[in-house]
Subunit: 478 residues, 2 copies
């Protein structure tokens, strides 16, 4: 028997340390300073985003024949067409443009204990589609084409902590999806690595160490913490805080939320039942998709400047010229996808047996690799439903829109990935359902605890990107 | 606070009961009787499988233009072309035919306690591609087209236990992949449901209740337990047996295997590290695939009778006419895929610190929805490597082929899904690595315990179908 191989019975337990970092006092003041830094970084860089016709997109071009938008290198991404056959939902078959980006990018925070408390190395990152251009992003946010330097730019700063074996200890590392209506099969590696307290991580004016508590504060502000930071934060494990919840209004809510952070308090449905339900929903809903040339997409109008839906719904794809000094290269052109109207992503939550439960929706989306992922209770762009009959309005939308202010626990406008989407704003809101809201819900919805959501987030493709953002927001409320 | 919602802190724990069912004494005698039943059922039915040219495939036809093989209903599956661009492996880009079957099928066992012991309702099922036509299958094995009765056959027997809510308690329910070299994105629901001991499940001569111990016996026999039964068995949780392992030769191996069945005994790598490694391997390997018309597949020859590789490697696709009385319909035609040569799927195992570890390979396969899944240590068809240089031979193949008999712990010829594949035989073998076999392995391999494999099997798309078959075989050895 071989005895010289030390075995381990448990993994690293960073959850308590992340909770501690999220519980630091006076985070509000620190967050205000961080906000000043963010604004200063925005002012320090020149940047300009201008619309240009497709013909002036430089390395990007419209392919003869297919009409697809592609980069000269064959890398980055393409804009193509997708034909979707759905067996549920108000529309049976539709065509749409879609962003195809097969390569797996990296979204990563370097974390480090400073004075005994975990800090995340954040970046003030300019992205052309961001409503205010510069937002708080992870330490590294790069496609493989970025960091293998396809566009001949400078090296991605701090990348080595993620790619060099042994440089840092991995705390989180999981592939997750992105917007299933806009991306075909897009996946990113969500990763958090810890460097030793004595590691001398080089400083740079665009980067700043923040506690999780600061990030929790900043998440309450509109368009401040970018999508990539939110999704990585959502995958971080948090232990139930050991301190008592802050007294005052909402204390009962906070108590139930904290009880929701541990398996020990129980759940309405045991996790194996949840997994079985998810399997059943995935097996039931079959969205068949077929890639088609962008030129063959029906119901959309193409001209020299843009591709847009004939009724002005959904989104528009156009060309943009970007110039900015803080980016890996000094200027570039690229297509951007601009949604029409502000989205809404709402999570209804409810205290069941003293434990907060969130109502998630098993939602088929055309671009998701396994067809169905768990979405917020409500996820839609209300404008898209203008001309549809009331019965086709998204379920629970009115419950969300009519919620009294006292039950709105979180409410902020956040924007989606500014590297691909132009001013893709979405209202992220968490609403405590009233006592009259039923526990019995339609078959494609389930009440899950925060601990169950966190367990699922250790694996790929259970929660969609909007649900992950809302998990990050839920973590702002304990 | 709502107090009227009973919460639960744990899921159902069927693992100990499955182990008990697998430990029943005198299973060998029972298995022999079951084998007689299987042979009797084979003899009770007339069946015949004949090759026919594509033109005589009835409801199936070669599409003009694309050359794809499709069913008149648009259901079941199609045979199309796939172009694969790989960034690793001996061949950079290749074309191949591929089976496209987007609908999610159901592979399910009904289980029930008989005299206090769990029994699985097995079926003697005829499949046209099986080497001996009739094998032991799950209770239900059906595509959605089957059970929604696209081919106007009779209803699928026992389906209601899986589809009617409340008829049975779900013990296992997870989507898993199938052969990533032959299927594009194929997924099946692997499910086990338990009916109460007093439920009067109707009997049928083609169905038989067996303990897990009987199935463990039958798995040692060539071409007896079909692939669908093996994959469902692999997803069943087993607790570490409470009894002492059988004394005699191999007792030390059995002891280490039993210690491998629980998290408490530890593992070489903690599970979070394993998940991170899997994420990294997935992110690194990018197989880009492109569906192309079958008529455009290069390097393959098509004629009126078959599609075959120009060097006679890989596989052939041909048309078959089937007649059999025990099937839902009395006769049909369909395409079948016949691999060239017998495959090998081998798991090297090693006692590390008193706990058995299995060496799995993070293997990219073109048809897998997330690109990479964990495969056996060796998975190949040796004949395909005949003309390639020694350096391109699959790693560890020679270790497997040269293993002394005393270290071969499992060895049987099993066949793959006879509903799609014709005589797709594969040698499944589990080999204890010698003391000289290094613990340090290449970056795309990892030593995992059986408990870790079982944890991953609660989720989709971690283990490929060959690895799952070997997990079922490992469970024959404690």
């Amino acid at each position: 028997m071989t005895r010289d191989h030390p075995l381990t019975t448990r993994g690293p337990e960073p959850a308590a340390r992340f909770t501690e970092s999220g519980s630091v006092a006076d985070a509000d003041a620190a967050a205000k300073e961080s906000l000043d830094w963010l604004i200063a970084r925005r002012d320090a860089h020149r940047f300009e985003v201008t619309r240009v016709p497709f013909a002036e997109l430089g390395d990007w071009s419209v392919q003869p024949g297919t009409g697809n938008l592609t980069h000269r290198s064959g890398k980055f991404f393409t804009v193509e067409g997708l034909r979707v056959h759905a067996d549920a939902g108000p529309v049976g078959t539709w065509d749409q443009p879609i962003i195809v980006q097969p390569e797996i990018g990296l979204l990563g925070f370097v974390v480090k204990e400073i004075d005994g408390v975990l800090h995340c190395l954040t970046q003030a990152k300019m992205e052309p589609g961001n409503p205010n251009l510069v937002q708080v992003s992870p330490t590294v946010q790069a496609t493989r084409s970025n960091f293998t330097r396809v566009h001949r730019g400078s090296a991605t700063r701090y990348l080595e902590y993620f790619t060099d074996p042994g440089r840092a200890r991995v705390l989180v590392d999981v592939l997750q999806s992105e917007q299933g209506s806009w991306f075909l099969g897009k996946r990113n590696r969500n990763i958090v690595v810890e460097v030793p307290p004595d590691e001398d991580v080089p400083a740079h004016p665009d980067f700043r160490w923040m506690t999780v508590a600061e990030l929790r504060e900043l998440l309450h502000r509109d368009n401040t913490v970018n999508m990539d930071a939110r999704t990585v934060l959502s995958c971080i494990p948090f232990a139930r805080p050991t301190s008592a919840p802050r007294p005052g209004p909402g204390q009962e809510f906070r108590t139930a939320l904290r009880r929701s952070m541990t398996a020990a308090e129980g759940a309405l449905h045991p996790l194996p039942e949840v997994l079985s339900w998810f399997t059943e929903r995935t097996a039931r809903h079959e969205l068949r998709t077929e890639r088609i040339p962008l030129a063959r997409v029906e119901g959309w109008h193409r001209d020299a400047w843009e591709v847009r839906h004939e009724q002005g719904r959904h989104f528009t794809v156009f060309g943009a010229r970007v110039s900015a000094a803080s980016r890996e290269v000094s200027g570039w052109t690229q297509p951007l996808l601009a949604p029409c109207g502000t989205g809404i992503a709402a999570l209804l939550v409810k205290n069941l047996g003293g434990v907060l439960h969130a109502l998630v929706h098993a939602r088929p989306e055309a671009g998701h690799v396994r067809g169905v992922e768990l979405a917020p209770t409500v996820q839609c762009t209300p404008d898209n439903y203008r001309s549809l009959p009331a019965a086709s309005r998204p379920r629970f939308l009115d419950v969300v829109l009519d919620a009294p202010a006292g039950r709105v626990r979180f409410d902020a406008i956040q924007s989606e990935e500014g590297g691909r989407f132009h001013h893709a704003e979405c209202r992220y809101t968490i609403i405590e359902a009233g006592d009259d809201f039923p526990v019995a819900v339609p078959e494609d919805y389930r009440w899950l605890t925060l601990h169950q959501l966190a367990s699922l987030l250790q694996h790929s493709h259970y929660l969609n990107v909007q649900a992950r953002s809302l998990v990050a927001c839920l973590h702002c409320l304990w």
